[in-house]
Amino acid sequence: MISLAGRDILHGWGKFVFTGVGLGLLIGVTLTMAGVYRGMIDDAQVLIDNSGADLWVVQKDTLGPYAESSSLYEEIYRSIVIMPGVAQAVNVTYFTMQVRHGERDVRSMAVGIVPGETGQPGWPPYLVAGRQITHSHYEAVADIATGFKLGDRIKIRRNHYTVVGLTRRMVSSNGDPMVFIPLKDAQEAQFLKDNDAIVQNRRRTAENPNFNRPGVPGLLDAVIASQSGNPYVNAVLVSIKPGYTAEQVAEPIRRWKRLTVYTHAQMESILIEKLIATAAKQIGMFLVILALVSAAIVAFIIYTLTLGKIREIAVLKLIGTRNRTIAAMIMQQAIGLGLIGFAVGKIAATFWAPIFPKYVLLLPGDSLRGFVVVVVICALASVLAIRAALKVDPAEAIGG
């Protein structure tokens, strides 16, 4: 038996191809939305994996440092590094800001790291160009997504930094590229007040007789120095010694230091289930709406195409064609339209994904699921047209 649907598609291929291209662009948007969601999850996982940490020590009862603000005294790492099973414990700060470069600024996450040995937690694990930070001030390593180049001078708050290294896929959970700077500079930048505020604060302190005592020289300077510095960090990243489990090391820190400690799995759960949950729901809603729109388009097109063939369908029924043959013809056309649309959508998504500002991760599994969904939607969308076709009276082929 010949394929009636195939012959009809070949006969009116222009109509099918153009409709399929339109549908395909919609499917491409749907696949891209799914890719954006996957990209967000991947960004979150990359953030955790590339931090090099096994444990995140944060302010008690907070979900820091990525999902909530967390503030720890900078000296706390000294008491953590001597806990059983701890290999390394390093301070780190994170804050999102606009990093200026010439006339433009780039939304970035500035990460304060302790200059030292390569491979410490918090450091970029690899570079694609240049070197790691070796000086305590005014050097930066940037993710290439910032667009910065080696030797570029960038401005963070009041200070200028020279880009000495470039890394890749170091992003925040929002997808903002990271810029690594020395910890001391980051601490200063995080809480830096403007000059007027500093002057006003000094004047008020100097006018306070409790701080400015003639009999206690040096007290005023000490108080002012304590007010202008920032002895806080957002988290302590911990790597553990071989032979210890994360939970074995985390539990004593929680108990004795009255701090909150997250393992790798817990941090992943915080990022995925809490931080990007709302975005994921929004994308989910978009996917549902796009699926419904696609279904409506396919249903409308197939229904219209079927109504245009009522006389032929009546003739087919009159000459003895089975209802299931006619239903199969319509369903195959709908699925054919879906296949054209899926192919166009997949190609379009693959081509436009790299130029998206957000990271779009197109997984083969998602494409496969998308393919199945498209086929199912097209099959369901053809039901309306099939109902119309089955209602056609073969007597319509006979005049009168």
Partner: protein, 237 residues
């Protein structure tokens, strides 16, 4: 009149609706057509021609009466054979006023579709289709699409489609209406040839006076009743 029948109907009635709104489209129709015979069926608009054609074509069921196709009883006072679709496919050929060829199939497949639907292989179906197309002098257009054919060629292809399953009866609904005299007579000539060659009973519903002289027998239908009349019967002998 021949002793055996391609199709025979006796006392067929068809009523639409019920009660006060009931309409009797066919009141009492008798008709017999022998294998190889071509008869005309004429009547004014609203006389019941189309209803009779639909009954003969097993598209609608008569309210009462009997219809026999060859040796097979199709309807008998409310009883009907179970699979009318297969009956239409295997036992009845249709030729319409417009050819109604399937626009997305080429000429060969338009004809071959019926044997394919009946379960024959594609190769066998196409072989039968090509033989008929050759016989009807449109074999050279076998690969053409219907839109590339002239009106006369399209009608010959539709005749081939009606004949391809070797049905005992063909119903032709005003097959010459859109054609000029020459082409109309050519179509009737073909129908006569095919009726003789394949022993098919052909009923031609027509308003076309130019072809009436070709029929040996004509059935007039008026107010839902048929009256038989001997035609001029010039035929094409």
């Amino acid at each position: 009149m021949a002793d055996s029948y391609g199709i025979r109907i006796e006392g067929v009635r068809k009523r639409y609706g019920e009660g006060d709104t009931a309409v009797d489209a066919l009141r009492h129709v008798d008709m017999q057509v022998a294998p190889g015979e071509v008869v005309g069926l004429i009547g004014p608009s609203g006389s019941g021609k189309s209803t009779l054609l639909k009954c003969l074509g097993a598209v609608i069921e008569p309210t009462a009466g009997r219809m026999i196709l060859g040796e097979q009883v199709i309807y008998d006072d409310g009883w009907k054979i179970p699979d009318l679709r297969a009956l239409r496919r295997d036992k009845i050929g249709f030729v319409f006023q417009a050819p109604y060829l399937i626009p997305f199939l080429d000429v060969t497949d338009n004809v071959a579709l019926l044997p394919m639907l009946a379960g024959h292989s594609n190769a066998e179906s196409r072989k039968r289709a090509l033989e008929l197309l050759q016989a009807l002098d449109v074999g050279h257009r076998a690969k053409a699409m219907p839109s590339q054919l002239s009106g006369g060629e399209q009608q010959r292809v539709s005749i081939a489609r009606a004949l391809v399953n070797r049905p005992p009866v063909i119903l032709a609904d005003e097959p010459t209406a859109p054609l000029d005299s020459e082409r109309a007579l050519a179509v009737i000539r073909i129908l006569n040839q095919m009726a003789s060659q394949y022993e098919t009973a052909i009923i031609v519903v027509t308003h076309d006076e130019k072809i009436l002289p070709t029929f040996k027998r004509i059935y007039h239908i008026r107010d839902g009743k048929t009256h038989e009349e001997v035609g001029e019967g010039r035929g094409f002998d």
